[in-house]
């Protein structure tokens, strides 16, 4: 008889899915690898920034060979100008765990159980920063954990074990749990009541380093993990394909290259693209429904591009003997969680069918 030793949770080499965070290793950056922005998703999937109407930020997916336990890719937010914050400044990196991913986990709402959040962080300066956890319905409950950045430009791992709380059952639609890395919160969002559940609506610790508005400062994170249990286990590595498919529930693009904004309008006659289906015109041109790889979180916002190189948004390419973009930028786009279709009366004529080209992206993230 062969005996198989089964390891309990909390010991080394715990197997199986532990990490509730999608793209915690920052491998997937469908929108691009560097961008300047103020509010939204710009590079790494699932991690959103907000500048609180103060200053400008560059976000990027960084790639480096650091210490062996730190994932290769990371998400960097860097201030690119000098600006003053105010008491109401509200600046962060945010991740949202979807309600569907926590509703079957009673531990999170059980005060006798713990969950643990861990991540690697690197910063331009030494000092204090914090991670904030909040219920999906933001005002219900918050938990702020300050940590010290011991050395500038150096990776370190932060972990915090947090007791469950019944208030975490207060989700807001698909907003299950929110996570905030402070980049410049004003005093309106700061608390000194750290390492405990609070209801004051604060997500940052008082005394944190200010990133935004201080030109050249940056905060960089990777290896983000949210797991049940009393301690942080090693970061759970997943394959790129798996992470990409998980991300596509929230954002999908049909093009290889990033559908960057403001690409010069120089390629609208290109037939490049992956849509490649036929438009048929009777009283209007119609496309079949184009299905997303996975069902998206909600009906997504869709942008259509005239070629795979993403030139003129709001239009798509059709072949009428030569390639060209539709003249109108006002098609009717019927969007569902699983697919979308296009109807247009512009650029097509009765009784004809057309080869359709171009690309699109669909955004259903928080």
């Amino acid at each position: 008889m062969t005996l198989i030793k089964v390891k309990s949770r909390g010991t080394d080499n715990v197997s199986g899915r532990r990490n509730l965070i999608i793209n915690g290793a920052m491998q997937v950056a469908q929108r691009g690898t560097t961008s300047t922005g103020v509010n939204g998703y710009y590079t790494v999937d699932r991690f959103r920034i907000y500048n609180g109407s103060v200053g400008t930020l560059t976000t990027s997916q960084e790639s480096s060979n650091g210490p062996t336990d730190v994932p290769k890719y990371s998400f960097k937010v860097a201030a690119t100008n000098t600006a003053s914050t105010s008491t109401s400044s509200d600046a962060w990196i945010r991740y949202v765990i979807e309600t569907k991913d926590i509703e079957n986990i009673p531990n999170i709402t059980d005060s006798t159980k713990n969950f643990t959040v861990s991540f690697y962080v690197k910063c331009s300066n030494t000092g204090q920063s914090s991670i904030g956890i909040a219920s999906g319905s933001y005002s219900s409950a918050q938990y702020v954990h300050p940590y010290t950045i011991a050395a500038a430009d150096t990776w370190q791992r932060v972990s915090v074990t947090i007791p469950g709380n019944s208030l975490l059952s207060n989700v807001s639609g698909d907003f299950g749990i929110r996570m905030y890395w402070d980049t410049g919160a004003g005093t309106d969002y700061q608390t000194s009541s750290t390492n405990q559940w609070i209801t004051s609506g604060d997500y940052a610790a008082a005394g944190n380093l200010q990133i935004i508005g201080v030109n050249g400062r940056y905060l960089q994170i990777t290896g983000v993990q949210f797991e049940l249990g009393d301690s942080a286990s090693d970061f759970e590595h997943r394959s790129f394909t798996e992470e990409l498919q998980l991300c596509q529930r929230y954002y999908f693009k049909s093009m290889d290259s990033p559908p960057a904004d403001n690409i010069p309008n120089t390629d609208t006659t290109s037939g490049n693209g992956y849509m490649g289906f036929v438009m048929y015109a009777n009283t209007s041109g119609r496309s079949p429904y184009f299905y997303f790889p996975v069902e998206m979180r909600t009906d997504p916002s869709v942008t259509i591009y005239s070629s795979e190189r993403a030139n003129t948004s709001g239009r798509f390419g059709i072949f009428t003997g030569v390639w060209g973009a539709t003249a109108s930028s006002t098609p009717v786009v019927d969007v569902k969680r699983a697919a979308f279709g296009i109807t247009t009366s512009s650029g097509t004529s009765t009784g004809n069918s057309y080869l359709m080209a171009g690309g699109f992206d669909a955004n259903a993230d928080f």
């Binding site: 509010n39 939204g40 639609g173 698909d174 904004d261 403001n262 979180r297 909600t298 009906d299 997504p300 916002s301 869709v302 942008t303 259509i304 948004s313 709001g314 930028s329 006002t330 009717v332 786009v333 019927d334 969007v335 109807t343 955004n363 259903a364 993230d365 928080f366």
Partner: protein, 58 residues
């Protein structure tokens, strides 16, 4: 979300199907009328704040 222009578009039945949004960088986004969609929620917030008006469909 910096919006330059927002206008409803209609389905075959003549009802509002979604909102065509032109961003300040001229990117055009088709936003469904679904409160779970974050863009739609933001549009509603801006309308409520009085900073955005959605034009009727043509």
């Amino acid at each position: 979300m910096k919006i330059k222009d927002a206008q409803y578009y209609l389905n075959d039945d003549g009802n509002n199907q979604g909102i065509q949004v032109t961003m300040d960088n001229d990117k055009v986004i088709y936003v469904p009328l679904n409160t779970d969609n974050t863009d739609y929620a933001e549009i509603q917030r801006q309308v409520k704040a009085g900073t955005l008006t959605i034009k009727d469909a043509d």
